[in-house]
Amino acid sequence: MSALASLPPKPLVATAAASLASRARWKPAEIAFWLATVASIFLLPSKHLILTEIAILGLFALSLDLILGYAGIVSLGHAAFFGFGAYAAGILAKYGIIKEPVLALLASGVLAAALGFVTSFLVLRGSDLTRLMVTLGVALVLREIANQLDITGGADGLQGVVMEPILGHFPFDMFGRTAYIYSLVTLFVLFLIARRIVNSPFGLSLRSIKGNPLRAAAIGIHVNGRLVTIYTIAAAYAGIAGALLTQSTQFASLSVLDFERSADVMLIVIIGGTGYLYGGLIGAVLFKLVQDYLANVNPQYWQFWLGLILVMMIMFGRVYGAIMAALIFAICTWTRLPFMQSIVFTLVVLAVLGIARPQILAVTSRITERAAAIQTRLRARLARKPAER
């Protein structure tokens, strides 16, 4: 290794710079995703209300993904920040402290961030289970506090929140159009920032901490400092999501701090996949649409089918599991099987599938292989064509 070798060739540096930047480049699928959300404003006017809820949930899930997917912090109490932001926005509006929604939204985010900063020190130590329970405990204590205080309206919820028009120009309307566009814009802006964060040197250091905190410290990274930072940022995101909910529904209730809300957002992020930002968004879309569909088809027992989907997804992989669950549901629906028989039928099928799992997995993996082979062949052919021309 001579002194000459220590001067790396120029093209190598260029390739390196390019490959480092490639992760942050916009991919066609991403652009398509955002175009689709813009299109939904115009194409699905009757769905704006549920879409608003999905956008808010997506932002909330994005927030959890920042700590779970990028820093490896599990949380079963993320609703603490969501709820804190929700109540903050409600109180700011109700008592006329900050009337303009966008400013109030930012203020709620800042307040939630402050809470996140303070509580972040509780999640620095301990195993996953400890973190789950400490975060859960924080959320439950907050819920109790909100229940006892007068300013939050206790168990009645915070009523009588009246929202001023956004930026003084765009009033919230009955059809939820303003609220939807407002939520989408907020989501998109925050997504851009999050995307920047996770692709930055700071984001890289988070990924290294998630992968190996011991080594991260050994190359001079202040592990706890970084964790506190990202936890605080995530808390701000969750707080803004909560504030959006309050602003679009014009009230806040104790349910914003519920355990179920924390658990749902966790499910959403895991379903959608962690550590690529879109997981939370896609998970939110899927989860909410499926839930809404099932609850409309079967208002009493939709949870049964939702549960079945989760079980199957873990047993047979996300795609195959979901398909198989959908098949079982379809069979029960089309044959108009009474619910009692549906339960029995499903349990029997589950047991059989469980016993035959190795064989089924063999089949599904073969299908995946075929699909992959076809895909590569297609790609190869597509790549060849222009060259031939």
Binding site: G126, G307, V311, T346
Partner: protein, 286 residues
């Protein structure tokens, strides 16, 4: 004063019986079974059916509740759970929450959404006055049953051949297999016993905690608190944690009712900050 202490102990013991199955699966098998409450609920409903509909004596139905839930547990273990042992904790959470959703909806349909009550025989109702201390008979029964169980469990895990095999299987499944231990069977039995214990807890607890289809979700938090506070490396940890939480909860609600509901969460947070691995964990340097 002493009555409050007594009630606290009874409540803690109840928490312990319902949760100890979870401590076993989580601590020994390293499996996060959030559907634990569903087994407890199954035990409760089995007792309701046996006692109220079939007219069996309450005391006789307790072991049956244990046995039936254990069988259900074993069936689920063999067909479904066995595939999920090697998955990550987060996936286990997803899987078992799915089972909870299914059980809640199914039980709601089959048994109705209203609360169910077990007909408690008259000799278990009311209080005994013991030197001025009011002692509920039913709560006394809970303490007795739970006390016996704790001793039996401790003995089974520490001093029997099965306990040794289980510990071996947990430490290193491959080595244990090499030693001729049927690891699958050991896990299945452990899981079944854990479920059975939950079922027994559900049967005993229906009277005090109330029994409705929402049970597995409503008490999930309590199970988890007991297990995390107690640590998962032994049976004594969760046992003492249950007692501390039970007495703390009851006393807190009695003396400072307006802050009553904070007590249990506060205890948990403080303990976990102080000892992140739980009160009674071996200091494992992993």
């Amino acid at each position: 004063m002493l009555t409050i202490l007594f009630d606290g102990i009874a409540y803690g013991m109840l928490l312990f019986v319902v949760s100890c199955g979870l401590a076993v699966t989580l601590g020994l098998m390293n499996f996060v079974n959030l559907a634990h409450g569903a087994f407890a609920m199954a035990g409760g409903y089995i007792t309701v059916i046996l006692v109220n509909r079939l007219g069996l004596p309450f005391l006789a139905s307790l072991p049956l509740a244990f046995a039936f839930t254990a069988i259900i547990g074993a069936v689920f273990e063999r067909t479904l759970y066995v595939h999920v042992y090697t998955k990550s904790h987060l996936e286990q959470v997803l899987f078992t929450i799915g089972l909870v959703f299914m059980s809640v909806a199914a039980v709601d349909y089959v048994m109705g959404s209203q609360q169910q009550f077990v007909s408690i025989p008259s000799y278990l109702q009311g209080q005994i006055n013991f030197f001025g201390v009011g002692i509920g008979r039913y709560r006394l029964l809970i303490i007795l049953v739970c006390g016996l169980l704790t001793v039996a469990l401790q003995f089974a895990l520490a001093s029997t051949r099965f306990g040794a095999r289980l510990r071996a299987a947990v430490d290193d499944a491959r080595v244990a297999r090499g030693l001729g231990i049927n690891v699958n069977a050991v896990f299945a039995i452990t899981f079944a016993v854990g479920s059975g214990l939950a079922g027994l807890g559900g049967a005993l607890g229906a009277e005090i905690l109330g029994l409705d289809p929402h049970f597995p979700l409503k008490f999930l938090i309590y199970f988890l608190i007991v297990v995390t506070v107690g640590g998962t490396s032994s049976i004594t940890g969760p046992f003492i944690a249950s007692l501390v939480l039970g007495i703390g909860d009851v006393a807190g609600k009695y003396y400072v009712p307006q802050f009553g509901s904070f007590v249990i969460y506060t205890i948990m947070i403080v303990v976990l900050i102080w000892r992140p691995q739980g009160l009674f964990s071996r200091a494992v340097a992993k």
